[in-house]
């Protein structure tokens, strides 16, 4: 597969996941802010922006509306919901003969729907908009699942999605850790991942901080847990690596993901939770290292070369 196409698929995976997760995170946080009159809106907004990697030096008091604009609707920022969807579509446009036409049509139709979606925010509120985003992302995931061959392209797409999911889950957990563990509540976090019901079934209704953190970090069966996402990324990398090496792990990326996964797996839940901030920072580092290692290994020099002419008489 062409390096450039692999890179596009990897980034489609990342951007779509980013759009979905950002929508989920924003949805519950904004809901919380509106529902709880005791929340200091400015501080909560600053904390959220900072966790999402978009700190603002603005001295103006921040409002929920401003956060929606910055993280939801800013089309120039590939980390906003709309920006990520547009970036995913742009990547798909350059890989159009590789992604299935149904996936392309879904991404393209989503992109064409963005102006309407903005209007929806004004008419029906942000919740309806975030719901629409989740739905489009789900349709896309479904189409990818149903129409893509399980070849290299699929592996890069899933790899990108998993790496982004680890990153986003770590950020989501950070919003809790930063706010001193009280706001937003675990309930909110679990809801934002769509994990509330599963969690209740697993822990039979005992809503305990430790259980909740353990669930989001370590659950083996819930697909949005950090552990599950890391394991998926790891198996994608293993399939991508050319043949089993004689000694140890074949690629840098595999080593980085593997180390991170075992770090979660073989440390007790209590130990992890005592150092939650450190663990989360480590996960974010892992994601950026994996990203670099994958780019080096598979994507190589795919940028255009500027040629300079020269001549002697």
């Amino acid at each position: 597969m062409l390096s450039r196409i692999a890179e596009s698929l990897y980034w489609i995976g990342r951007y779509v996941e980013r759009a979905e997760d950002t929508a989920r995170i924003l949805d519950v946080h904004l809901h919380q802010m509106l529902a709880d009159p005791w929340v200091a809106e400015d501080a909560a907004c600053r904390s959220l922006l900072s966790v999402m990697g978009a700190p603002t030096s603005d001295d103006m008091p921040l409002s929920a509306g401003r956060v929606v604009t910055l993280l939801g609707l800013d089309s120039g920022n590939p980390s906003s919901v709309i920006g990520a969807l547009a970036a995913a579509r742009e990547n798909a446009r350059g890989a159009r003969e590789t992604v299935s036409s149904e996936m392309w049509e879904c991404l393209n139709a989503t992109w064409l729907g963005l102006p309407d979606a903005r209007a929806r925010v004004e008419q029906q509120g942000v919740h309806a908009f975030f719901g629409w985003v989740r739905e489009r992302c789900a349709v896309l995931a479904g189409l990818a699942d149903a129409t893509m061959s399980r070849d290299e392209g699929w592996l890069f797409l899933v790899l990108g999605r998993s790496v982004e999911r680890v990153d986003m889950s770590a950020r989501l957990l950070s919003t809790h850790a930063r706010a001193g563990g009280s706001i937003p509540s675990w309930l909110t976090l679990l809801r934002s991942c769509g994990a509330w019901e599963t969690f209740l079934r697993t822990y039979r209704g005992s809503l305990d901080d430790r259980h909740a953190a353990e669930f989001l970090l370590l659950d083996r069966l819930f697909p949005r847990s950090v552990f599950a996402a890391l394991s998926t990324a790891e198996s994608c990398l293993a399939e991508l690596a050319p043949g089993p090496g004689r000694a140890g792990v074949a690629t840098d990326a595999q080593r980085i993901v593997g180390r991170s996964r075992t770090n979660l797996e073989f440390r007790g839940a209590d130990e992890l939770l005592d150092d939650l901030a450190g663990v989360l920072a480590g996960l974010e580092r892992t994601c950026s290292q994996v990203n670099d290692a994958v780019s080096r290994r598979y994507f190589r020099a795919t940028s255009a070369v500027m040629w300079v002419s020269e001549a002697v008489a």
């Binding site: 062409l2 390096s3 002419s309």
Partner: protein, 523 residues
């Protein structure tokens, strides 16, 4: 109910549907019978479905940087089998002559020595690339793909307007138009025998493989080289790559080292044998052409010269579709093939001769003036529709640079009913059939791109000038004795019905009744 054809008046060109007002020609009878009873609302709904499908699939072209759908008119253009066979023969004949000409001008130059074409025409052509001299394609083909623009004149005769043997585009619309139309006019498809166009990608792939260099082996690697997503024809590049099952590459995906071309893949570099390029010559290789090109591949031309890779279409083909050379194509057909041209040119004046120039300058307002190396309809001045200021400007330009222009009789292009608002109106059309040369045979795709000028009376049909397109139906010939009817596919001898799909454990109707009865009656 309003009649779609209400107030339909025959225009100045040959009307393809109507011989006289209200009387459809035989070819169009079935279509006319389908359209006639439809209300404009019915047709409008179908047209909307058509437009929406194109937008969602991203079947667009970029005009001034904005992606927009290429409007597909709902009324197809129909060509009878006998008419088509003239087009087919004529187009193939032209390609054969142009192939011979290209091989000659980049080689021995016999046509020049014989004085059939003046050297001045060739050596002053902006697309005569001396860099391409000495590059001999392995199977002799330089024009792997051609698009020949035809018009029907006032008498219904197909004439050639120009040849495109560089990187002709538009074939994707032929394929997509057909797919879309079969969804919105299924009843006409059922009653008409239309020759299919979907085999084009496999024909193209066959021709590209046949052009592979000697050392490429049995399974040569073909790629489509695109300038990138921002190119107006990117949609087409992606479609062709996808349907041929080959990689769509950009210049930055390729690397040329020691005259070997390879693409960068996740598993390392992989050799490339044939490049179907959709990049202009000038941008193809910074070593030979524009050094500021970031779209091309450095070293590509010498790799082709060394016979390590095939560039399709070949570099330098533009000398054969220069509009001044066009005036010599009938002579080329006689010179190389010893045949008479099947398709006539449009009457054209060469302006190098001062007497001809003076004659043309006297009647600019009745002629069409075209820059010789313009494409996409750019720079064309239609005398009868130009303002005095425009005429004065073109007069000055012609006098300054007679080699840069040709003048043609203004042909009133033929007309086909087209949905304008909620009525059908005659609009001018042209036709670009596509031909593929695999070295043993030139196949002309039965159909081609019919472009339609949407503004009333407009004669310039290019998409870049606000034109739309029509699906082009070539009717199958009535089967003669020489051509046996295809055998109906036999059904399985004892086809017994397949078993039902397995049912799930879902609630039976009695359970449902019981569940509904629980909880007592609500108020």
């Amino acid at each position: 109910m309003a009649d779609l054809f209400e107030n339909y008046r025959l225009g100045p060109g040959w009307d393809e549907m109507f011989a006289t007002a209200g009387m459809p020609r035989e070819t169009y009878e079935s279509l006319h019978a389908t359209l006639q009873p439809l209300s404009s609302a019915d047709l409008g709904v179908r047209a909307d479905v058509l437009a929406r499908a194109f937008l969602d699939q991203g079947i667009t072209f970029a005009l001034k940087g904005i992606e927009r759908p290429f409007p597909l008119d709902i009324v197809p253009r129909i060509i009878a089998a006998a008419e088509w066979s003239v087009v087919e023969t004529g187009v193939a004949q032209r390609i054969r002559a142009l192939e011979a000409f290209l091989s000659d001008v980049y080689g021995a130059g016999e046509v020049l020595a014989a004085g059939v074409v003046p050297r001045s025409v060739v050596v002053t052509s902006a697309h005569f690339h001396r860099e391409a001299a000495g590059i001999v394609p392995h199977n002799g083909v330089r024009v792997h793909v051609a698009g020949v623009d035809l018009v029907r004149d006032e008498a219904g005769v197909f004439r050639v307007l120009e040849d495109n043997v560089r990187v002709p585009s538009g074939v994707s619309y032929v394929i997509e138009n057909r797919r879309a139309m079969s969804h919105v006019l299924p009843e006409v498809f059922a009653s008409t025998r239309i020759r299919p166009v979907e085999s084009y990608p496999s024909q193209l792939l066959g021709a590209l493989r046949a052009a592979a260099p000697a050392g490429a082996g049995d399974e040569p690697t073909v790629v489509v080289l695109t300038p990138g997503v921002h190119n107006s024809a990117y949609f087409e590049h992606a479609l062709l790559a996808r349907e041929m099952g080959v990689e769509l590459v950009e210049g930055r995906d390729l690397i040329c080292a020691g005259n070997q071309v390879a693409m960068r893949t996740t598993a390392g570099e992989q050799r490339v044998d044939v490049i179907y390029r959709r990049i202009d010559d000038e941008f193809l290789d910074p070593v030979q052409f524009r050094t500021d090109s970031i779209l091309g591949v450095a070293g590509l031309l010498n790799a082709a010269r060394a016979g390590q890779v095939t560039i399709a279409n070949a570099v330098g083909n533009g000398v054969a579709d220069d509009k001044l050379l066009y005036t010599y194509v009938p002579d080329l057909i006689r010179f190389y093939l010893g045949e008479d041209p099947v398709l006539p040119n449009v009457e054209t004046y060469r302006l190098a001769d001062p007497d001809v120039l003076a004659h043309v300058l006297d009647r600019l307002d009745t002629l069409v003036l075209k820059p010789v190396d313009g494409s996409g309809g750019a720079g064309i001045v239609i005398g009868s529709q130009a303002t005095d200021a425009e005429l004065a400007e073109v007069r000055a330009r012609l006098s300054r640079d007679p080699r840069g222009w040709i003048a043609q009789r203004e042909v009133k292009l033929s007309m086909v009913p087209t949905l304008i608002g909620n009525r059908l109106r005659p609009r001018h059309v042209d036709l670009r059939p596509f031909a593929v040369n695999d070295g043993t045979r030139i196949s002309v795709l039965p159909g081609g791109l019919t472009r339609v000028a949407l503004p009333e009376g407009a004669l310039v049909v290019n998409s870049s000038q606000g034109g739309g397109s029509k699906d082009t139906w070539v009717l199958a010939a009535p089967l003669g004795p020489a051509e046996p009817a295809p055998e109906p596919r036999p059904a399985a001898p004892h086809a017994s019905p397949a078993p039902r799909p397995d049912p799930g454990p879902g609630a039976t109707s009695s359970q449902q009744q019981q569940q509904q009865q629980q909880g007592g009656a609500s108020c």
